[in-house]
């Protein structure tokens, strides 16, 4: 009796004394993401590759629903102190995440983990969206896209319009003539249609023409910023779209992409503006006509800036051990390797985030075989981002986009004049921004 108890004590002591690593299981790193179906499978493959590549860490990916649901799950988990190590958050949540005090900035994480990263070898227009005011990277870009313009080649041919260049943007005036030809000749029921109107027609339009979307360098330099989209240039652009809407050169297909996309596929509209992630969708869905892509139009006589990105980035959350952070850092490093970025880019159409991966793909002739995939990258890289074109950093950005959507819809259905709608959008957004600033004061 006494002996057995002694034995038990002895075994326990030995167990405790043994270095943990002797039978250490790999350290688990939890990653909550919003990647569904095809993209989810690609993400799962990347995780599996990482886990197979080493034995110290094991990444567990969990699909948490769409972007808002994933962010909410992260917020709720943080409050309950059960947060994952890595959380994928969409670009509009960037400001909230930065101010949350709940994140471990990626540049510090990498430094602390002793991993050297040459940030200059990343696509700057992508990185700049997730940098703080000092130019340090707060979260790791993961899936990034930018809007481009798709067009119906068959309709263009029928109207005798030359195919558009993949690198040199047409001007809005030229686009007006093109759409006029298409509509007047009754080749297309409507000229153009756009998905995500706030993102493509106001956010990107402003960035490309280097016009401030909001004061304080689009909010990068302080919470007390104000929206400035009621400037004459943007107002003129919206007015133009409204006049196009009246003579069918523009049609409104809804706030998201589903409606506009189906108008393009049904050949109700000859031109369709949407994210580069549309390439894969159109490839799958379009069977009965030829289509191609071109960069977004610009105003005549301007030198275009880079367009801005949409998508999501990976945030590392506070409250975990040093060992786990090492694993998270290793995983993020692994994700930005050439092999992973090329795989990700080829499978999903999202940008490769490093210049190395892009150049490697180029040298392998990938873009000669898939010229569509390069349209977005060229547009994104055609200029060094300025303080204004690098991105947007606004509180309650979800609400602001909603407000812009609502006001634009009132323009399209004729309830408000363009200038009035933009003024109202600015006034309403500014109350949101003021409330946000008050929350974090």
């Amino acid at each position: 009796m006494k002996l057995s108890r002694f034995c038990l004590l002895f075994i326990t002591a030995v167990c405790l004394a043994l270095p943990a690593s002797a039978f250490a299981k790999p350290v688990t790193i939890n990653w909550w993401h919003a990647m569904r179906s095809a993209r989810g499978e690609v993400a799962a493959k990347m995780i599996a590759d990482f886990n197979a590549s080493q034995s110290d860490y094991k990444v567990v990916g969990t699909f948490k629903g769409n972007y808002d649901e994933t962010m909410n799950a992260g917020v709720a988990a943080f409050r309950a102190k059960k947060q994952p190590h890595i959380l994928q958050v969409f670009e509009v949540g960037t400001q909230t995440m930065m101010l949350s005090g709940a994140v471990y900035p990626v540049f510090e994480l990498m430094k602390d983990a002793g991993i050297e990263v040459d940030w200059s070898r990343y696509l700057q227009a992508v990185l700049s969206y997730y940098m703080n005011a000092d130019g340090n990277l707060m979260s790791m870009p993961f899936n990034s896209s930018t809007p481009i313009m798709y067009y119906n080649v068959d309709m263009f041919k029928k109207a005798g319009i030359a195919p558009l260049s993949k690198t040199e943007p047409v001007t809005w005036d030229e686009l007006g003539e093109i759409t006029k030809k298409l509509v007047d000749a009754k080749i297309a029921p409507a000229g153009m249609v756009t998905a995500w109107q706030s993102w493509t027609q106001i956010e990107n339009y402003s960035a490309i023409h280097n016009i401030a979307f909001a004061s304080k360098a689009n909010g990068y330099k302080g919470l007390d910023c104000k929206l400035e989209i009621n400037n004459p240039t943007v107002a003129k652009h919206i007015e133009r779209l409204k006049s196009w809407a009246d003579d069918k050169r523009f049609m409104y297909g809804g706030q998201k992409y589903q409606g506009p996309k189906s108008e393009f596929i049904a050949q109700n509209a000859a031109i369709y503006i949407d994210s580069i992630s549309g390439i894969a969708k159109l490839k799958k869905a379009v069977k009965d006509f030829k289509w191609d892509a071109a960069p977004l139009p610009i105003e005549a006589g301007t030198k275009p800036q880079n367009s801005i990105i949409g998508g999501a980035s990976l945030w590392v959350l506070n409250g975990h051990t040093k060992e786990e952070y090492k694993g998270a850092a290793a995983f993020l490093k692994f994700l930005s390797s050439n092999q992973m970025q090329e795989y990700w880019h080829k499978e999903t159409g999202y940008f490769p985030i490093t210049i190395d991966a892009y150049e490697d793909l180029k040298s392998k002739g990938y873009y000669t075989a898939n010229p569509l995939q390069e349209v977005g990258i060229t547009q994104l890289n055609r200029a060094i981002p300025t303080e204004i074109s690098r991105g947007l950093r606004l509180g309650y950005f979800v609400q602001i986009r909603n407000i812009i959507n609502e006001e634009l819809e009132m323009v399209w259905n004729g309830k408000k004049a363009p200038q009035k709608a933009l003024d109202d959008a600015v006034a309403r957004s500014n109350t949101q921004l003021a409330t946000f600033a008050k929350t974090y004061k």
Binding site: N402, E406, E407, T439
Partner: protein, 296 residues
């Protein structure tokens, strides 16, 4: 004589209702109090920073013209939904009540839509009425020449969500009206028929007044339904658009709180919503109920 039970112990009744009280406290009162407290604060979603701001959230709400519009939209929407679903339910019930063959089958088939979840109902109506890919929408655009476009026009969008919400509720109303009609004494109707009253006359002077308790109950239930449970329909069909024209209160609470992470404003909106529904129900019981005839 009414049968009554007596407990020997004074404490046993309290013990017996204790579980229910506990459930109500934890799942209703506690969150409600949390909500009220939250509505006086501005806090960041991660819960690291909260400032007490008195009525700031309420002032912001009621100075926002769109919030007041949202209240109006909610009333228009719920009254329209209740009116459509109750009148259709009543009509179908009175027809089904007269059906001679396969009464049970007809009844069962008519109850089915109630089993459909609101979100599914919304998606189905969207597939019928979406201007780009809706089968019915394409048909009415082509053959009737109507410029139907709920993606662009607020009134079309409102019609669409009222249809989707009412369609589901018709079955519910149908069941209650059906049951109510079965309880109407046959002898009264037969006597009226002998006196020469036609079917319509019999309906309006006998059946309808006797159905008034059911009618009252259904009005309350339908309004509560359209205030809260239509969320799934709005979410799948319009997301509050176009131009905020179908942004009912409960959807705005979700958009601001869950998607936009403005917890203070969202909590204030919930409190307003709760007060509204309390007021409506009290008013209904106070004024409408007086006119209800509970016995023939």
């Amino acid at each position: 004589m009414i049968k009554r039970s007596f407990f020997k112990s004074r404490y046993l009744p309290y013990l017996l209702i204790f579980p229910q009280i506990l459930v109500t406290l934890t799942f209703f009162y506690w969150p409600a109090i949390q909500g009220i407290l939250q509505s006086f604060m501005l806090s960041d979603p991660f819960g690291r920073k909260s400032t007490f701001v008195w009525f700031y959230n309420y002032i912001e709400l009621f100075t926002d013209p769109l919030y007041l519009k949202s209240i109006l939209i909610t009333f228009v929407f719920s009254l329209a939904t209740a009116a459509v679903s109750i009148s259709l339910g009543l009509f179908i019930a009175s027809m089904a009540n007269r059906a001679l063959k396969a009464k049970a089958l007809v009844r069962t088939m008519l109850i089915w839509p109630y089993a459909v979840a609101p979100a599914i109902s919304g998606i189905m109506w969207l597939f019928l009425l979406h201007p780009s890919y809706g089968v019915v929408a394409l048909a009415i655009k082509k053959w009737m020449g109507i410029d139907w476009n709920p993606v662009l026009y607020g009134s079309d969008a409102m019609i669409m969500i009222v249809m989707a919400s009412a369609w589901k509720e018709v079955s519910y109303n149908f069941v209650f009206f059906m049951a109510g009609m079965q309880a109407v004494p046959k002898s009264l109707i037969e006597a009226a028929a002998i006196d020469g009253a036609g079917p319509l006359r019999r309906f309006w002077t006998i059946t309808f007044p006797l159905l008034s308790p059911t009618f009252f109950f259904l009005t309350v239930m339908n309004i509560i339904y359209s205030f809260f449970e239509t969320f799934g329909i709005i979410h799948t069909v319009t997301q509050g658009g176009p131009g905020g024209s179908t942004n009912i209160l409960v959807y705005k609470v979700y958009q601001d709180g869950f998607v936009g992470l403005n917890l203070g404003s969202s909590a204030a909106q919930s409190v307003v919503l709760m007060s509204l529904i309390i007021i409506i129900t009290v008013l209904q019981f106070k004024f409408v109920e007086k006119k209800v005839q509970y016995s023939g």
